[in-house]
Subunit: 205 residues, 4 copies
Amino acid sequence: MMKKSVPSMVKDPQLVKKRREQMVKGAVRLFIEKGFHRTTTREIAKESGFSIGTLYEYIGSKEDVLYLVCDAIYEEVSRKLTKQLDSSLTGIERLQKAIASFFQVVDEMQDEVLVMYQEAKSLPKEALPYVLQKEHEMTAMIEAIIRDCVTEGVLSLSDDQIKLRAHNILVQGHMWTFRRWSIQKLFTLEQYTALQMEQLLASSR
Amino acid sequence: MMKKSVPSMVKDPQLVKKRREQMVKGAVRLFIEKGFHRTTTREIAKESGFSIGTLYEYIGSKEDVLYLVCDAIYEEVSRKLTKQLDSSLTGIERLQKAIASFFQVVDEMQDEVLVMYQEAKSLPKEALPYVLQKEHEMTAMIEAIIRDCVTEGVLSLSDDQIKLRAHNILVQGHMWTFRRWSIQKLFTLEQYTALQMEQLLASSR
Amino acid sequence: MMKKSVPSMVKDPQLVKKRREQMVKGAVRLFIEKGFHRTTTREIAKESGFSIGTLYEYIGSKEDVLYLVCDAIYEEVSRKLTKQLDSSLTGIERLQKAIASFFQVVDEMQDEVLVMYQEAKSLPKEALPYVLQKEHEMTAMIEAIIRDCVTEGVLSLSDDQIKLRAHNILVQGHMWTFRRWSIQKLFTLEQYTALQMEQLLASSR
Amino acid sequence: MMKKSVPSMVKDPQLVKKRREQMVKGAVRLFIEKGFHRTTTREIAKESGFSIGTLYEYIGSKEDVLYLVCDAIYEEVSRKLTKQLDSSLTGIERLQKAIASFFQVVDEMQDEVLVMYQEAKSLPKEALPYVLQKEHEMTAMIEAIIRDCVTEGVLSLSDDQIKLRAHNILVQGHMWTFRRWSIQKLFTLEQYTALQMEQLLASSR
DNA sequence: CATGAATGAGCATTCATTCAT
DNA sequence: AATGAATGAATGCTCATTCAT
């Protein structure tokens, strides 16, 4: 699955990368504050530190900014998660570590994750497959870890159960942000993690 | 918690009710199709069967339409759910029935629930407390049913666990819609319900 | 050949007609002064006596204004010409009258004719067939009058010659405007008409 | 009458000449395709084979490109025509040759001539006198040939008639391009030339 | 000389809202 | 109460031109 390519008038890839990073940084702040639709391209340009003309040297449309933002957030979540996971744990401990790490990453990037959740529907049509793919990869990653536990015999779950739990883990990570008005009043992240883990690791069959 | 009052120039409450029902019906269809921001007030008026001038006789701003829509959706979910729950079941069975009913209602109102999820952030500021309150009521309702199980001794959960499971039930209902691109490909509603129930009803302490 | 239909948000045809007349009047003045491309929609709105929003209640795009302008000019040229031609002359005299009338109409509407000549290429794609049709009708009208002369035996021309002379008459009318910087310095309209007529009526075969 | 001078930052006249030739070649193609206003300076630079920065080393404004283009077209028409005319014909034959040659040159350079016709109005103010001068020279050239015929006694025309016929010849050449949608469907260039010549050479007084 | 990134004034168009009828 | 024409601020985007490298 190819990344959607965002058109740029500027040739130098280094510069494109740098400017887009500025842009994403500025845009995330604005999208968090007021949402994609209420943010104007001029505001994005200003917040990014350049003019409206320059903004359009690096994107083709406002929607492209949203795509860049979502892509960057995915990338960072992946990066952070991967960093946490390179430990050489096995079995249940590895899964526990994965869940805790994921929840922690979501906690660290609350606003960003929330933006992605709320604005993904405004992504340009061509970007949708790519984003779904990213979600799928994430789910598959968790799924694999769970499956290892089953293979190792430390967890007893059917294939369907494995798949669904992977989804549940993802969503329970996300809900830490999108229900924060309630959940974060009830629990600390540690409490939340412990309580959810308890259920997620319950075996069956 | 008072409902946010939506201003109307029209005095006759019967008429206001009728017109707003037309409006909500039209708006829901449009919001499902293209989202709140991409829907114009003119389109809402047309779809509702009256003129743009008339639309503004019954609301104060476009956001009010969104509020009315969200409110109506909550109302219908509540209504449908209440209808399903008036059985005289007790204990685990009552909870099972509640979960299954909730999932089923969400399934019946997929598009509507999705709209609420995706557009709630655009609600007028004053409406937020009311909406959160609604969510809270819903959670509290589920919570009460779980608590009954615990009281009856058929489930062994701490207070924190009760609260979190109520949230999980809600979110697992919602995710049937917002992750449908994946989950509904893997499971039928019945399968999904059975699999989730299994975990949700697992006891502990 | 159907007229291109220009979309309007306003229902009342009377009003549409009235507003579009205002619009055409304002736009012609501006197009004469600065050309189509250098005229902004805001200027058109202002010159027409209403707001930019109102302008767009009566057209779909800036190009539509140009189409409306060209159409109105054709219409007026036709109207004026028809009015002049309803005399019951025959043979050469009728042709003479037609040529003189046409030149006179072009003279009266110099600026308008020039605008049409210079901006027609910017017309919306769908309007082109209609405009060519109009030109063709005009040519056919002249052609018919020449043909009558031939039929009556007062002029001796082949079919090709008839067709070409019709074109020549049209173009010689138009060139009174688009070469005015030179021709109108050399001749009065009467002189010009007399001199051109002389050649145009020369018989042959 | 001086040529309008187009400012250049570059000193070497050879280079200026070369670059401007590239520029004109590229621009003509673009102007033919989409007109002056719809062509961007970036496109002109690209089509010319150099950067936008370089483009502005050789011109002062976009309008200058149009002027250069028009000038080049005049130049080439003149050149081609002169080449055809250096025969040592006399009298009617010389005029016939001139007309046929002119029509042929116009036919060979249809697109270019059309561009000049349609975009001349967008020329920078200061360029207008020069362009009119060019037109005048052309007319004068034809005029001289006709006058020779009169002097030689092979044609009998008043001074006014001579002047007007010169204009007619020019315009009838041009109309081969700007009415091509109709005329070129009716006639081949040879037919067209023969038919027009017939009238243009008719004597009188 | 050549380059191309940066600029920002300018433009067409949209749309929530008002108000006279 | 209902209508729909009018409004104009706001917005996404373009493009001629400049200037540092």
